[in-house]
Symmetry: C2
Subunit: 428 residues, 2 copies
């Protein structure tokens, strides 16, 4: 009874969106709600003694040097795919629907390679900084780790992320991770690039840098000097330990908020230049083709975006009742200031709770309570960042830019929930 009266008081948007405090301030309320509450058959009233499971009857495994996950979690994998006929041109996507919080475990961080992962001996690796400089220098790993470091928790997102979620005529039916999993978030530690640029002495005429990787594609991008001197980092550590090979071991460029491709992995060379170099990777790719046949170039910052990770395709609802909607939001423009959630296809919106810490250009976890009544519904989230930028609808993006472009799609993701609780990608 108490639950029902509270439910009305706490409604923050139509079709069952509730203030999250309903979970936190009603002693016994959820249980009291019975079949319409959170309880399913999987909570059992305890009767009699608790038996000892088999794993309590034998000593367990001992300690070890470098741990691994449980074998019962082996199904949680990145979804990997390569271009036909190549060994290393492809991507793998973070299984967002299986993760919680904001840190992506490094083993599940997305990958995007243009010619595979080089196996680099760190003792042989050197970074050259040259071009419009007073004194070109090679830095080896010993010298780099002598420099002062900074640590930052930031997302990185491939600019091609989410394209298949909204820029295909009919909605693609895949998991949240397959549709949106070219985004991940880690704690990155490394040397500010500005310090190394000071070491080589940058020519006042220099406006750009070229960053080149030591993969066999020599993937390379031009970056404005203003960014290089601002918050660019030569990243050496990811989530506490050295970078993983699939994220640029032993060093990568890291450009907070910029499209992931510019954070060049396996970094071997920075050339200081007057103008952008116009490499193959910024002319034949990573430009945004518009309907009139022209292309936008050097569209670096990743736009404000969000997605509900639970419920989502594959994580179906188990019948009417109380659920927690959970998702992630991020923006290359700065901190997330607000995430709104709708359970009626965008007619009404309620504000979700943001989980602290809410950090600059990091994934931000949002959560909201939802009393699902069992009828078909369309759930969606939209993020707003500290600059005031609002995540747009799919329709408004297509009206403005057409459907030929492949990068920087950040439309609102709608999940349709059918009467059986099954979630699907829908263009609501």
């Amino acid at each position: 009874m108490k639950f029902k009266s509270n439910k009305i008081e706490e409604q923050v948007a139509d079709n069952g969106l509730l203030h999250r405090r309903i979970f936190l301030s009603n002693a016994g309320a959820l249980l009291g709600a019975g079949a319409s509450g959170i309880l399913s058959g999987s909570i059992a009233h305890a009767q009699g003694a608790q038996s000892r499971p088999p794993w309590m009857r034998v000593p367990g495994k001992g300690v070890g040097g470098y741990g691994a996950r449980a074998r019962f979690e082996d199904h949680v994998q990145r979804s990997a795919g390569s271009a036909p006929g190549t060994t290393g041109a492809g991507a793998s996507r973070t299984p967002l629907e299986h993760l919680e919080g904001i840190i992506t475990p490094s083993s599940l961080h997305f990958e995007r390679h243009h010619s595979g992962i080089p196996e680099i001996d760190p003792n042989e690796h050197r970074l050259l900084i040259h071009g419009l400089v007073e004194r070109p220098l090679f830095f080896d790993m010993n010298s780099l780790t002598r420099y002062p470091m900074v640590s930052k928790i930031h997302f990185i997102e491939c600019s091609g992320n989410s394209r298949v979620s909204g820029l295909i005529p009919e909605p693609v039916q895949q998991s949240c991770g397959v549709l949106h999993g070219l985004v991940s978030c880690s704690e990155w530690t490394g040397v500010p690039l500005s310090i190394l640029l000071d070491e080589v002495g940058v020519d006042p005429d220099a406006g750009w840098i070229l960053a080149e990787g030591s993969d066999s594609a020599a993937m390379s991008r031009s970056v404005p000097m203003s960014k290089a001197m601002d918050d660019a980092m030569i990243a050496i550590y990811q989530n506490g330990e050295k970078l993983r090979p699939d994220n640029g071991y032993p060093i990568r460029l890291f450009l907070p908020g910029y499209e992931g491709n510019t954070s060049v992995k396996w970094l071997r060379r920075i050339k200081v230049t007057a103008e952008p170099t116009m490499t193959k990777d910024e002319t034949s790719k990573y430009t945004d083709l518009l309907d009139d046949g022209t292309s936008l170039m050097f569209t670096f910052p990743m736009e404000v975006k969000s997605v509900i990770t639970s419920p989502s395709p594959g994580l179906d609802l188990e019948g009417p009742g109380l659920y927690e909607i959970s998702g992630i939001a991020w923006s290359g423009g700065g901190r997330i200031s607000k995430v709104e959630v709708s359970a009626d296809g965008g007619l009404s919106w309620g504000e979700a709770e943001l989980s602290a810490p809410v950090l600059d250009r990091a994934l931000t976890r949002f959560r909201m309570a939802w009393q699902w009544n069992g009828a078909p519904a369309v759930i969606m989230s939209r993020a707003i960042d500290e600059t005031g930028a609002i995540q747009p609808t799919r329709d408004s993006i297509i009206a403005a830019k057409g459907m030929k472009f492949a990068y920087h799609y950040n439309g609102i993701q709608a999940w349709g929930i059918d009467a059986n609780g099954r979630a699907v990608n829908t263009y609501a």
Copy 2:
């Protein structure tokens, strides 16, 4: 020249401790300093063309489902040890000196087991909450993951951590990780215990809970009800993915700031009680024996503490010059408000820079610039938390508590640096 004049301006404590902005605001300054600057032989002036390394001449490895670290990093291991004659009673320690930032990769998170790691099938695991409750309940993993969750970045520290660094008559010569590596920091996500206690309906007479693990030691601890209803969590995720087996898979209790042992792993049972249960794990162990033969019991919060991770034993200095001192600080009392560093054995202290975010009961990374002149020196750090608690000296702890106790040692760690740049544990 510029470097030398700045150096004097920026000195924050004696024997070469400099304000860290020396790294950040002097174009060309470090290089200009020549032999007394940061440069060593490992930076080379570039002449001629940069040759392509062998790994650029072949396509690299393709994408994968679950990534691994580089084989060149295999030497970074937890230091593991077990009690003689047992398979699973022991500990492994985080190699703090090889890590940066504040997140500990889950594979290197410390372990402490009392009878090894049980291999638990999550489909068979249930949590019983019973005792002084209205309705005892079993929760399986399906039902637990239906509840609302919270995410928090927190350290966890074994109360036995650092004992060997300071409570032995002669300084033990080991790495920073062996001496202090029973502390790690992760993002934990789970269900607030208060919600589950509300579900079962706690008797007003209940003052404590008993938490029991499903290892074969049935490790169990009593925890005050006030903590259980405050910020206690049933943790399900660690650093984004499900808990690792060595950290309690599929669920553990997590008590922010409390001694690690109370965050019971492989949690199977919470019994609501009037008084503490006085289990073997809180009477024969985890009490603090004083010189007068009495013991302190239930000393839960971990005290304010810090340690310099670089330089530290094994990470020796490569000759006189400019270095970055880097370390970690933490406190069960809340946020770290300040870390001070000394390079003259505690005669003078300078304030280190704290790397954002500085979070409640999380590891906090501090950094400071140090111009080492090549003479023997003693470096040390002391942390102060937001409650005003100050990390004490070894001498003051021993004067107050003697040397019989084994837990909650948080004395200032001094590293002696000899004229060859070698770092050793010293009781300065």
